[in-house]
Symmetry: C2
Subunit: 228 residues, 2 copies
């Protein structure tokens, strides 16, 4: 499939000087994203409940990443990625409302449950984890993105290009443009606008289908959007 | 992106002699699918409330397709695709319970609403249109597929290859294998297993996001699944 990039260059936003913070950055997904952003030369702060575990995770990925407690990361970062497990999602964001005010918060949390038949989407009262974040953080611009990026591929030093598109959803054009540009710093990745925040539920829930694909085909599946 | 096909050939099911019926085959999506299946050499029956409109639609696509009332098509076809608008979905299937018993029913209905902010997913009491079909038709094997195939591309005589993957969901392996093979008769298309029927909602709802992509990028967007 030919991947055209012309449209994307036009939307490119200047990320120079922006510090990327990752709450829950000691988990697989958060650490994988941190690694790729650090490799691309961005200042990266890994957040965790434990400053020591955050520092250890940062040391393990190298490239100048550093680690601290979630609250310190939320205070210092310009763009804050939320990569915590869903069951701690709401409480963490409520505890960081002041620190996150005025910032772009990128929610990549997937509310997914598992049983004997595999993965399935959990109901979320607000509609989606991203809408829950927006409800809890009225003074931030919440963007939903990075739901389907394989942590295995992000961490694999043999994978130079991560061949997938990141769907970026949100109601603020400047914020979604910024996060599209952030996705595109990972070689191989495009950030593609994917709709308003009210349509985030199905993007989060789609992770259950991707898990099904991975099981059936022994793959680390992702999405490409065709004709874009 | 390299598209590997080896795994797919292994899953290929023999569709020889199977007649494809399309309920709501006079709509854009149904007619486009009918056209591609007929071009691939399969017997295709277009169904509609009006036999005359079905015959007119069949004549317009040629390639040996024929048309009749929905009930006659449901009786004669081996695989029945449901491509009606969501608001007539449940009533139509209830009226065809006897005709559809024992068959594979392929639901490609997208419960989507529109307002000033664009498209959004409609709630479905059963979870999804596909689960609604399964609830109404306990004696059929319901498969969900073909949700994101651009009718414009299907109808365009200049488009030889439709570059996208069709996610195929269902709880019966033989039925999903058959529908994956059916998807693959359209040049360029792969049928990729996408999970159980309980995970159909987000696939149907994802159509709202694809509409958002189409508006932003002036595209006829579709999905490719990477690493498969």
């Amino acid at each position: 499939m030919p991947v055209s990039r012309g449209w994307h260059d036009r939307a490119m936003t200047d990320l120079n000087g922006l510090t990327i913070g990752i709450l829950g950055g000691t988990g697989d997904q958060g650490k994988g994203l941190a690694r790729r952003f650090a490799l691309a030369g961005h200042p990266v702060l890994i957040g965790s409940r434990s400053a020591q575990r955050a520092k250890d995770a940062a040391a393990s990925i190298g490239s100048g990443a550093s680690g601290d407690e979630n609250a310190a990361v939320a205070t210092q970062a310009d763009i804050v990625i939320v990569a915590v497990p869903y069951d701690g999602h709401k409480a963490l964001l409520e505890s960081l409302r002041a620190e996150l005010a005025g910032k772009i918060v990128v929610d990549c949390v997937n509310p997914i449950g598992f049983d004997k038949q595999g993965a399935y989407a959990l109901p979320v009262a607000e509609g989606s984890a991203a809408q829950q974040a927006a409800a809890v953080l009225p003074d931030t611009r919440v963007v939903a993105a990075f739901h389907h990026v394989s942590a295995v591929l992000l961490m694999d030093p043999a994978v130079d290009e991560v061949e997938l598109d990141v769907l970026v959803l949100g109601d603020d054009r400047e914020a979604t443009d910024t996060v599209q540009a952030l996705a595109a710093v990972i070689p191989g990745v495009r950030g593609v606008y994917g709709g308003r925040l009210r349509n985030a539920h199905q993007i989060e829930a789609l992770t259950a289908n991707i898990i099904s694909v991975n099981r059936r085909y022994k793959a680390h599946a992702g999405l490409r959007i065709t004709d874009v």
